[in-house]
Symmetry: C2
Subunit: 345 residues, 2 copies
C-alpha cells in the first residue's frame, strides 16, 4: 500500500514535528495542502494540547499527525546538576543573572495514559513517537480508533524493533536531520549513518513503508529518497522560515544568514544529542558535554541564559535546530513549500 | 558536458581508489567494463608505480584514473611517538612482540615532481587527488597532456576552493564514505555531512560536474545521486569482495559477516580520520585517539600488531575500511558489478 493510501493523504510529504518552532498553524497548512501536518506535543500540558487539537479540528478535515516523546523520566541528580551549574556560572555572572535562579521551562513529558485518553475525543489519523514506543497498553489505547502509528529509527536494528511491535511505518532518520536524534536502542552515535546508507538498508530489512528524514530540502531530494526505496519523506528544517511557523527571530536570522551554516550534534540544550546551527555556547561548551544533565533536565539551567541573550537579539544560548541542509528554507507559505517538495508547483 | 564525455567513459561509475585493497587488476576490470577504474598510488614507490602502469597499459585502452595524496609530510615527533607506543605497549606485550620493533610499512607519500615526470610517459586520462591539490607547478606538469583533474571535497567551501584552482570535476565525499576523509580546509569533522545534505549544496555552488561518493552500494543509490544533481558516482566498498580486489582475508570475512556491520571514523591506523568496520583496537583505543601520531606516521606502530593478528586470522588490529553501507559487497566480477551499478545488468 502506498504511504498516501495508508495515511489518507495526497502527497508523500510529512512535515516534521518541531517543538518550540510551531503550533497547529503549520500543521494545518501542510495538511490542507495535501501533505501530513504534524503537531509536536511533548512540551504541551493537557490544556494546551486540547486547545491545539480544537484549533486543528476547526481548520482542517484532513489527516494530521500528533508527535510524542517516549523517554524514561530521569531522577534528578543534584550533584550532577550542581556541577553543570558551575560550568555555566561564568555566563550567569557575565550576564548579571542569579546562578540560583530557576526559570520554569516547558517540561518535555513522555506520552502517558491521561494523554492517550484525551486523544480519543479527537481520534487523530496518525500518532508518531520519538525515542521508541510507549508501552503495549498505551499503544492499545490509541489503537481503539483507526490510528496509524509511526516511530523513528536511526539504525536497522531499531527499524526491526519497531516493526516487530507493530508500527504502521518507520521513519528512517539520517544523521543529516535537525533536532533530536531519535535513537533508543544504543547511545553510540557512531552506529547512526547518513540517509544514503541508512535508508536502503532499512527498506531492505522491513516490510512496512519507510519514510526518509534528514537533509531533504527540495524536490530533487524527494525524488532521490523515493529512488532509494522510501515511500515518503519527512521534512522539518525547510519549513522553519514559513510564516506559519513560530520560529524565533534569532533562529530565523541564523537560518537565513546565507553563510556556510555549520551544524553539529549538541546535548547542551536538553541532555540528548540534537542537531542545530553552531553558536557561541556550542563552541565554548561542547557541542557535546559529558557534564550536561540527563534528558530533558539540561534545559532548565540553560533557560535563563537563553532568555537573557534572546532579549538582546542574540541566539548565543538558543537551540537553533537545523538539519545539515538549511538551503531549502524559504519564507513562503507552507502550502506552497509542500507542493514544491512534491513537484506539484 | 556529461561526465562520460569529459572522461571518455561509457558509464557514470568511478571505482574509488582503495590503497591496500587493490592493484591494477580491479582498475582494468572496471575500465574495460565502461566505468573509470582507479589505481591508488600513494603507497607505491616509483618502481612499483611504473610496474602497475605497464600492467594497466597492457590490459586496457580505456581511460583510467591515478589517485595521489596531497598531504604535507609531517616532521617526526619522538615524544608524541613514544607516548603512542606506551599506549600500545600492553598489546605488544600480550602478543609477545618487541615494543622497540619497527616494521617497515609502505609509506604514504604526497604527489611530487618525479612522480609527475614518470606519469608523462603513460599520459593517464584522469588523475585524482585526496587532501586537496598539489602545487600549481605540479598541476601544470600533468596538464601538459590532456589529463583531467579530480579532487575530493567534504564541504561546500572545499568544492569552491577546488573549482577556483581549475579541477575538471569535484568528488563530493559524504560522511557515509569508507576510508580516509578527504578534508583539507578544516579538521572539524562536524563541518562534514551526509550525501543528502552535501551533494545538492555542492551542485548548487559550483559549475563543474560533481561526482557523489559515500554509501552508494547499488543502482538505486546511483539513481538517487543523479536525482540530487550528481553527474556520476564514485563507489568503493561495493568492490571490496570482487575477485579482482586484493582485499585481505580478514577484511573480506568482516565485510561478508552479515551482521549489523558497525563502522566508525578512526585515526588509529594512519593518524587521519578514516571510516572502517569497528574492531577490537577501535573499541579499546578510540575510535579517535588524540595521542595517535600525525598522518601518516601512526601507521608504523600499528603494523607489528596488525601483522601478528592477521597471522592468527584476526582483524583486531587491521584497518577494515568500509563505508556505512557494506550491503552492496558481493563476490562477483568487477565488470558485472560496474554494469549493475549503472543499471545495465
Amino acid at each position: 500500500m502506498s504511504l498516501q493510501s495508508l495515511l489518507g493523504i495526497d502527497l508523500p510529504i510529512i512535515q516534521a514535528p518541531m517543538a518550540g518552532s510551531q503550533d497547529h498553524a503549520l500543521a494545518v497548512a501542510v495538511s490542507n495542502a495535501g501533505g501530513l501536518g504534524s503537531l509536536p506535543c511533548a512540551m504541551l500540558g493537557a490544556d494546551a494540547l486540547r486547545a491545539e487539537l480544537v484549533a486543528i479540528k476547526a481548520q482542517t478535515d484532513r489527516p494530521y499527525n500528533l508527535n510524542f516523546f517516549c523517554h524514561a523520566t530521569p531522577v534528578s541528580d543534584p550533584v550532577r546538576e550542581a556541577r553543570w551549574r558551575a560550568v555555566l556560572e561564568p555566563y550567569y555572572r557575565a550576564f548579571d543573572l542569579d546562578p540560583g535562579q530557576l526559570t520554569a521551562t516547558p517540561a518535555r513529558l513522555p506520552f502517558d495514559a491521561p494523554t492517550a485518553e484525551l486523544l480519543e475525543e479527537f481520534r487523530p489519523a496518525v500518532v508518531s513517537f520519538h525515542f521508541g514506543l510507549p508501552s503495549h497498553a498505551l499503544l492499545e489505547t490509541i489503537r481503539r480508533w483507526d490510528c496509524k502509528v509511526l516511530s523513528t529509527a536511526t539504525t536497522v536494528e531499531e527499524a526491526r524493533w519497531l516493526e516487530a511491535r507493530g508500527v504502521d511505518a518507520v521513519i528512517a532518520q539520517g544523521l543529516e536531520a535537525g533536532g533530536h536524534r531519535g535513537h533508543f536502542l544504543s547511545d553510540d552515535l557512531t552506529r547512526q549513518s547518513g540517509i544514503f546508507a541508512l535508508l536502503p538498508r532499512i527498506v531492505d530489512a522491513v516490510r512496512v513503508p519507510v519514510i526518509a528524514a534528514g537533509g531533504i530540502a527540495d524536490h530533487r531530494a524527494v525524488v532521490a529518497a523515493l529512488a532509494l526505496g522510501a515511500s515518503g519523506v519527512q521534512v522539518g528544517t525547510a519549513f522553519l522560515l514559513c510564516p506559519e511557523a513560530t520560529t524565533s527571530a534569532v533562529h530565523r536570522a541564523a537560518l537565513a544568514d546565507g553563510g556556510p551554516q555549520h551544524t553539529a550534534l549538541t546535548n547542551l540544550f536538553s541532555g540528548r544529542p540534537a542537531r542545530g546551527l553552531v553558536n557561541r555556547c556550542m563552541r565554548e561548551l561542547g557541542p557535546m558535554n559529558p557534564l550536561a544533565p540527563e534528558f530533558p533536565l539540561a534545559a532548565a539551567a540553560m533557560a535563563p541564559l537563553r532568555a537573557y541573550c534572546e532579549r538582546q537579539g542574540s541566539g548565543d544560548f538558543s537551540p537553533l535546530w537545523s538539519g545539515q541542509n538549511p538551503d531549502g528554507c524559504r519564507n513562503i507559505p507552507a502550502a506552497k513549500l509542500t507542493r514544491q517538495l512534491a513537484g506539484r508547483a
